[in-house]
Symmetry: C2
Subunit: 245 residues, 2 copies
DNA sequence: CGCACTCTTGACCGAGATCAACATTCGTGG
DNA sequence: CCACGAATGTTGATCTCGGTCAAGAGTGCG
C-alpha cells in the first residue's frame, strides 16, 4: 500500500507521536533530501564547538548526547532513537554546545539546514511541530535535572529505564515491555551521574526485586507497574499522544 | 529620545542579547498587548498540570521553575530574570510539566497565546528568535544536568553563581560583578540538589576563598576569574552575543 | 588464543546528608 | 516601640549512600 509508506518514514512516525500532521506536510517531510550514512558503534558524530550547516536524523540505532566537564568527566544529557533529529537545535544555534556519539551501529540521514528552513517557510505547521519537538526535548531535560538532583540510585536508574521503554514504545521499537538496550554500565553511569560499580549493584537490586531483566542488550520490564513506581515515573513530561496508561 | 524607548522594552532587551532584531520586529514586540500584574515573593504563578492560553513575561523580579517528585522533593530546574518568558513553551505545549514561583516580588505581563501566534505568523524572524530563545533554555538545562551530575559541591554552587552573574550582566542588572541575588539557601539547595546545611558550608568556603561576598541579597564576585575557575564555568552554553571574555 | 572491554565482587573511605540546637533577621500585631 | 514567632542562617555531631580502589570473571573480537 502506497499510503503506508509515508507513515513508515522515520521522521513522520516520530512526529506522529507528538502531533497530527497534514497529508501535504507528511509528504514534504518524507520528500526531504538526505544523505544517508552508516556509522559503527562508538563513533563521534559531532563535537562541542563545531559549527553545523546540516542536521541529522537517526534512521536506525541509538545515540547519546554528552558534555565533558573541565575536569574531564562525562555527562550524558540525553539519548536519541530512530526518527529523532538530535541536533535540530543547530538550525538556530549553529555553534554546538554538546557532542554526540553512537551507542549502537547507526544509520543516519544528513539534511541541509537550507532544506529544513525552506520546509519550515512553506509549511508553518511543520515549524510548529519541530519547535514542539525541541520543547519536548527541553521538558525531558527538566526531568533529568530532577532525576539526577533528587532521586536516589535505584529510583534514578529505574526512571531512566522507564523513559527508554516508553519512548521506544512510542515509535514501535518494543515488543510488550521488551526492547533492545545497548548502553553499557559505564554509559548508564554517565547518564545518571553515578559510578559504574554502583550502577552494577543497582541493576542487580532491580533484578532481585523482579522489576527488570537485562542481558545481551535486551531490556524487559517484567513488572512495568512496579518499575514505574520504583522510578517515580510519570510519562506526562514526554508529551506523547495517547500513551498507554 | 523616542528611539531608546523601544530598546528599553524588557523583551526587546532580552532578545537583543541573543539576536539582532529588525526595527519593525522590535516595534511589533514592544506593541504586544499585555496584562501587567504585581506579585509578592513566594507566590506560585503556574502549577504543573495547568493548561495555559497565555504566556507571561517577567518585567521585574526573579522567578524559579521547579518540579516536585513523587516523594515530595523539590528540584529547581531553572530561574528566570527580567525580559524572560519562562513559560514560552506553553505556546506549543499547553499542558505544563513544571511549576513557577516568584523568588522576589515581581511585575509580570501576561500575553495571550493568540497574540504571540499572530506575531510569529507576521514576523518569521520573531518566530526564529523565540525558537532560538527556547533552544538556549534547553542548552542551559543540558549544562544543569552536567552540573548536578558531575560537579562537587563547591564547583556546583560556583557554577550556578557564575551563570546568574553572566545572565544578569547580559540584561544590564549588574554593577561590575555585583547583582541582587535573593535566593535563600534553601532555594540554592533545591537548585543544586544539595542540602541546606551543605549549601551554607559551601558558601562559607567560597567566601573564605575570597571568591564571593553574599549578604543582604547582594552577590558580588570579588574574584570573577577565580569564581569561574572554581565553577568550571564557560559561558558558551548561554549563547549570548558579545559576552565579555 | 590472547588482549581489551565489560561486568562483578569485596573492602574501605569520604563527601555530603541528616539530626539537633542555637543565632539572627524580619515582619506583625499588641 | 517592643515582643514574639516564623523564616532564615549557622554550627557541631553523627551517619550513610554511593564513590574509590583493586582484583577477578566473563565475553568477544582480531
Amino acid at each position: 500500500m502506497a499510503a503506508s509508506s509515508i507513515e513508515d518514514h522515520p521522521i513522520v512516525r516520530q512526529l506522529n507521536t507528538i502531533a497530527s500532521l497534514s497529508e501535504p506536510a507528511k509528504q514534504a517531510v518524507a520528500g526531504l533530501p538526505m544523505h544517508v550514512v552508516s556509522l559503527e558503534a562508538d563513533q563521534e558524530i559531532l563535537r562541542e564547538g563545531d559549527r553545523s550547516s546540516q542536521c541529522y536524523v537517526i534512521l536506525e540505532g541509538f545515540v547519546a548526547n554528552f558534555k565533558i566537564t573541565a575536569t574531564g568527566k562525562r555527562q550524558i544529557v540525553a539519548y536519541y532513537l530512530a526518527g529523532d533529529i538530535p541536533d535540530l537545535q543547530s538550525l538556530h544555534l549553529p555553534v554546538l554546545d554538546s557532542s554526540w556519539i553512537t551507542i549502537t551501529p547507526c544509520k543516519v540521514g544528513f539534511i541541509q539546514h537550507e532544506n529544513l528552513h525552506r520546509l519550515c517557510e512553506r509549511h508553518p505547521d511543520i515549524t510548529k511541530v519541530l519547535w514542539r519537538w525541541t520543547l519536548i526535548a527541553a521538558s525531558i531535560y527538566r526531568e533529568w535535572v530532577t532525576n539526577v538532583g533528587q532521586r536516589n540510585a535505584s529510583a534514578r536508574v529505574a526512571h531512566l529505564l522507564c523513559e527508554v521503554i516508553t519512548r521506544m514504545r512510542a515509535v514501535g521499537l518494543t515488543r510488550d515491555y521488551t526492547c533492545e538496550f545497548a548502553m553499557t554500565q559505564t554509559e548508564l553511569a554517565d547518564a545518571t551521574g553515578m559510578s559504574t560499580v554502583h550502577i552494577n549493584r543497582t541493576l542487580q537490586e532491580l533484578r532481585r526485586a523482579k522489576l527488570i531483566t537485562l542481558k545481551e542488550n535486551t531490556l524487559t520490564a517484567i513488572d512495568w507497574e512496579g518499575l514505574q513506581e520504583a522510578g517515580e515515573f510519570d510519562p506526562a513530561y514526554l508529551h506523547i499522544r495517547n500513551v498507554a496508561h
